[in-house]
């Protein structure tokens, strides 16, 4: 039986100490920044605190094959995102995306040596919680995010003989799979009055090896409350 060292405990403990120490430093020694010949352009002081409701429209593509099969469950993607940003930039949000996916035709050879033209059709639903940080980038807002959630993949192997893709699908020719994803992302947003628009990307790193990881470019449109 393997023994796993509790690295996460080490990390969490270290971060706890680091966070506490830095808070103390900030409170006791708010000195001027050092080694500056001329100060950089001032960062906007407008508070980042706000509630947002955003529509997400984008296009995604798989970045790898799964079990030798090319699946495209992302494609044109539509979704919503809602979140709150604290004054210091920390942001908590939730998101829901529907990826229409697309069909992919590909030559495929079974382990037994039989070759045939395989057409796959897949789509996906992604949902989860987003942890992020906003900061000013001149008049824009730069958003770092780490999305943690689930992907529900629906796949259809068309007229593939049952059992031909045994490793991936077993005897089935269509089905679904639910897996956990980690999706780091970046976005740049522009506020116009109560409205907001932006461009960004998320990279869905899939934990389940039946679901392909994918890169999703997105357009964000919404309101700030």
């Amino acid at each position: 039986m393997r023994r796993r060292l509790p690295a996460w405990i080490t990390l969490a403990f270290g971060l706890l100490i680091a966070s506490a120490a830095s808070a103390e430093t900030a409170a006791l020694a708010p000195g001027p920044s050092v080694a500056t010949e001329a100060p950089p352009p001032p960062t906007p002081t407008k508070s980042l605190a706000r509630f947002e409701l955003l529509a997400r429209v984008g296009y995604g593509a798989s970045t790898g094959k799964v079990y030798g099969i090319e699946l495209e469950p992302y494609g044109a993607t539509f979704g919503v995102e809602s979140g709150y940003t604290f004054a210091n930039g920390l942001r908590l949000a939730a998101y829901l995306d529907f990826g229409l996916g697309r069909s992919v035709s590909q030559p495929y050879q079974t382990n037994g040596g039989t070759s045939f033209e395989l057409t796959t059709k897949s789509s996906s639903v992604n949902a989860g919680a987003s942890f992020g940080y906003d900061l000013w980038l001149h008049f824009l807002v730069l958003r770092y995010s780490l999305n943690l959630g689930f992907t529900s993949l629906s796949w259809d192997l068309g007229n593939t003989p049952g059992g031909a893709l045994l490793e991936y699908a077993g005897q089935a020719t269509q089905g679904s799979k639910l897996g956990f994803h980690v999706a780091p992302g970046l976005a740049v947003l522009w506020s116009i009055g109560p409205f907001e628009c932006g461009l960004g990307f998320d990279y869905f790193a899939q934990i389940d090896d039946h679901i392909p990881s994918g890169f999703l470019g997105k357009l964000l449109l919404g309101v700030m409350l």
């Binding site: 500056t36 950089p40 960062t43 004054a87």
Partner: protein
């Protein structure tokens, strides 16, 4: 990995707790206890307390500690993830290690000496040591673990890095590194062990030109390419000698060349200062090494760095 993610979430929640302290003022950069000689005169992410030491010639100021937590990296010291701890001893000396790798049987320690630091040019020498014990690499799949279970390796990367912060918005970096490695024990008959796929136990000479564009005092774009001029990986071969009805078999290991197209990689990312003591990065990596590790040639990595 889910535990590492849980720890990252904990870090974010700690930031919320710190909000009460930070809300009063946009906190200023902590004054270092000792000024570094010839420190660059730029501010923001180019200042000695905030500039990146990743693939640059710079080291942490005296008594400064850096704690990094990241995941999904592809380069040697960031493979799969990083819980990095670094300390600045002053006079340009810095020691760092990836404790996450220590927990999976890869023990590394790296020393850097930033011996030249002028406002527009800096040089550093780096030397490191890595010891890997195959049987302790529990993070690998059972098949991959079996291949390396009877092996140990040591690697010694040495290098020189030049950095040139040309303007307030542009910095060029050029790390040049050679890594020597050797193996003990058996690495199996496969040419694609974890060591070779991840390029951690290879003999390699490489340069890594990097460009940093500072788009604000708190954010920089980083673009770099790893160009291995030669790479050798260990392979184990069986040889069989038959004379009459007698057969003698033996196995031996040697180093074989790997083509450039299999080893180069490209990365682009963004690094920002979220708080004077907290930095975030998101990067995208492209190359065969990413495909070997994660199944996709394009893959992200992300991380948080605390500087105290």
């Amino acid at each position: 990995m889910t535990r590492a993610i849980a720890a990252l979430l904990l870090a974010l929640s700690l930031v919320v707790l710190n909000e009460s302290a930070a809300r009063a003022e946009p906190a200023a950069t902590p004054t270092p206890s000792t000024s570094e000689p010839n420190a660059a005169s730029f501010a923001g992410l180019q200042s000695p307390e905030q500039r990146s030491d990743r693939f640059s010639a710079y080291s942490l100021p005296k008594h400064m500690v850096s704690i990094e937590a990241g995941a999904l990296g592809v380069s040697g010291q960031e493979l799969y993830g990083r819980i990095g701890v670094a300390y600045g001893f002053g006079h340009g000396l810095q020691l760092d290690a990836n404790l996450l790798h220590w927990s999976v049987g890869l023990f590394d320690l790296n020393l850097r000496w930033n011996f030249l630091d002028t406002p527009h040019f800096a040089l550093a020498a780096t030397v490191g040591g890595v010891y890997g014990h195959g049987a302790w690499m529990w993070i690998l799949t059972p098949a991959a673990e079996k291949l390396v279970a009877d092996s140990d390796f040591v690697a010694f990367p040495i290098g020189v890095t030049a950095s040139a912060p040309l303007t307030r918005w542009l910095q060029l970096d050029l790390p040049i590194e050679y890594q020597y490695s050797t193996y003990f024990g058996s690495i199996g008959k496969s040419d694609s062990t974890f060591y070779t796929k991840a390029q951690i136990g290879v003999r390699q000479f490489m340069v890594r030109p990097t460009v940093r564009v500072f788009v604000s005092d708190a954010t920089a774009l980083e673009l770099g390419v790893k160009l291995p001029l030669f790479t050798q990986v260990p392979v184990e071969r069986d040889s069989t000698l038959s004379i009459g009805n007698q057969t003698q078999s033996s196995s031996n290991s040697r180093y074989a060349d790997v083509k450039f197209k299999d080893t180069w990689s490209l990365e682009g990312g963004v690094r920002s200062r979220l708080q004077p003591w907290l930095f975030a990065t998101v990067r995208l990596h492209y190359g065969r090494v990413a495909k070997a590790l994660y199944g996709a040639p394009l893959y992200p990595s992300f991380g948080l760095e605390f500087r105290l």
